[in-house]
Amino acid sequence: MATTEKGSASSGFAAGEELPRAQSPVKQFIKKFLRRKTAVAGFIFIVFILILAVIGPNITPYDPNAYDYNAILAAPNAAHIWGTDEFGRDVFSRIIAGTQLSLGTALTASILGTAGGVVLGLIAGFFGGLIDSFIMRVCDVMFAFPSILLAIAIVAIIGPGITNIMIGLAVFTVPSFARIIRGAVLEVRGELYVEVAKSIGCSPARIMFVHIFPGTLQALIVNFTMNVGGAILSASSLSFLGFGASVTQAEWGAILSQGRNYLAIAPHLVLFPGLVIFLTVLAFNLFGDGLRDTLDPKLN
């Protein structure tokens, strides 16, 4: 009896008044994020572009490098929906095939730069003092350069090419991330759990990466997303200026650069790569905006 009563009491409790159950933070986040339509659109576009980057070269209607001297600078038509370039190559195929290179460059550069920035930001924020001042002053010096000029200077020194563009872009990404992460570290450094970790004798490296770093993740993701958009633009700009992709490679900036010479007679050569770059950068920015608004508790 007693057991039954106990059982019924507990089940009755469960069946009765709902206790405010803690929702999973992930679910909560998704729900909030889905409310931001533009961010969702950006996200869908990014996923689409990423898929394209992976499978792009296999699904192009034409070989992106196949020339056809009988169809030079043809306007968009049924056979070439985005027209052909000065060698009769299919613009649509070249842009799809170029996704891999353009996106890959920007992503690699952002990841490298972010990694560097995170390490420097953690060190500066955690140790403080002279090390902090030194790292932050170096970052200030780099901030003093317009970023694209800095990248051009780096590429001019180490020579043109896709790899060097990635290095150049990564270098100018480092200081902004160092600063952001340092700010986030200063915020969490005083938290109780960090004090605890310190008091039980964890090594500085462990405290930095295991205890502090997760606390900065939110700021990191938001800024990383925003940065990728900028990096795509910068990588394309550098290729446009002739520093990046080889002129024979299908890369968005390079396609745009070669197309501009035919602006008067074949505007489609500039229109389509320009549009694709614009939309991709926009999508990353919208997605980043949405992430920030969702994650930032102050904005709710």
Partner: protein
Amino acid sequence: MKRSENNVQPGMTRRGFLGLAATGAVAAVSAGLVGCSGNGGDTSADSSSDAAESTSSVEMIEADSDGFVVRATKTDGKAPKNECIIAFEGDFQEMHPMNWSDSNSGNVVYYIYDCLYDLDENYEPVPRAAESYEVSDDACTYTFHLREGITFTDGAKLDAQAVVTNYECAIDPANNWRRRRMFIESIDENTEETRVDSCTAVDEYTVQFHLPTPYAPFMNSISQFYLISPNAVTDSSFDYSKQSVGSGPYVLEEYAQGDHVSLVRNEDYWGEKPSIERINFRVVPEAGSRIAALQTGEATAIYPMPTDQVATVRAAGDINMISIPSTTMRYVTLNTDYEPLSDVRVRQALNYALDQDEYVKVMYSGAATPATSVLPAAVSGYKAQTPFDVDLDKAKSLLEEAGYGDGFEVTIIGDNSTQETKGMTFVMQQLEKIGVTVNVQPNEPATNADLAAAPEDETTLQMWYVNWAQNDADGFMRSLLSTPMVPPTGYNTAFWKNEEFDAELEAGNAAPTEEEQNEHYGKCQDIVWPECPWLYLASDNILLSYKAYLNDVKYVPAGIDVTHATLNV
């Protein structure tokens, strides 16, 4: 502490705008997807045959037997006034008749100053300030008989003494005028070779040039030796950009660098007076603006005519467009020291792979002539060779014989201009057909000049996409193919050396008559052609468009000539 970097709140209006744009993005993507899946089905069967239905939007330039690409259909137009306005792409940098270096300035100087002999459109000498000339049997003495009664615009007489004074000023190292190279050749910084020993006045109207050794292109030099009044040429403070003191059909009216040069008719000209009163040379760098100026009549003629605007000119109806073969040769040097280009079979294979007709079509919309010798056909002394017609099987078997059946990798350099980059990409596409991988490397022109000047044991050159323009066979082949002209001295960037060729070239230079000269130069071309130190491309044409109310415009080696032209006013 706040994360100051990321708490900027975007305004709602901006977000609304972004949202709209994102909607557009999705729409565009789905359009792309549709096209992608639509065409994706027959991916395996793609290749160029698919594109048969798509048409090129570039019109091919084809000239008739008189050189006309477009003939005006409306010929009753009238010029607004008796003034010829010629719009050029480039600037006129220098009005000094002995110190200019750009061909545009040379074109203006041609109207103001007389030389002893001119070159006509066939590169034949025609008398100007001199009535006749003789060459001695050893080809070392040139005697010119001057026309009597020519005066410069400042009243000075053009006599033998004036010519001698001009010559002395021209070679004076203190002046260091750019045209000094008509008579003095700089071998390197400290070594110079004189082409003329002396210039003497035999009597009042006879002048003699004595050469140390025969120099075949001497008349070519003479055609650029513009005579200035002796009062001005010896006066170092004379400003040629403010006034002129020539004896030519026109005098300088106004010179504004970067904008225009205007000339007015010389009313005291000794020869047949030109019919056109004023000539205005204008700088219009933008191709579209040049075409527009010609359409509205703001310009009477434009040079060069942009190759992609033929349809515009045709539609206008009152414009003529002519295409004239030039003395510019485009080619790719193959470093004959560089393995595998050192094997003649490899070099021939490359030439068999490259389609010159396609080159002409893709690069110049047809306004060029495929190379049939190392010399452009317009150069006197040119001898046609058997062209390397496209033959991929032969190219591949030659590569196999040489041990490169699987192809190889090579780097091509060239200027980073649109046109040169496009040309190098074309070469890459062509050589890909026989398995040769070409890395295209466009550089700053100055970088290329440095790379090309490296001596043989230091050079990194493999292939160089380049061009050369010169109107005498000797200078052309000597600079580019003779043994002494291996860098850093000259431009033999193929590092091709052939004693027999060198001997024929010397024999040609020393031959007294043009016929004999040309025979030797012909042999030179016979020797070099099958050796393939270059990838032979084409010689592009000069394109000139002008209003139908301008008659009898000519293109001479000095440039556009309207001294005998008339305007329907």
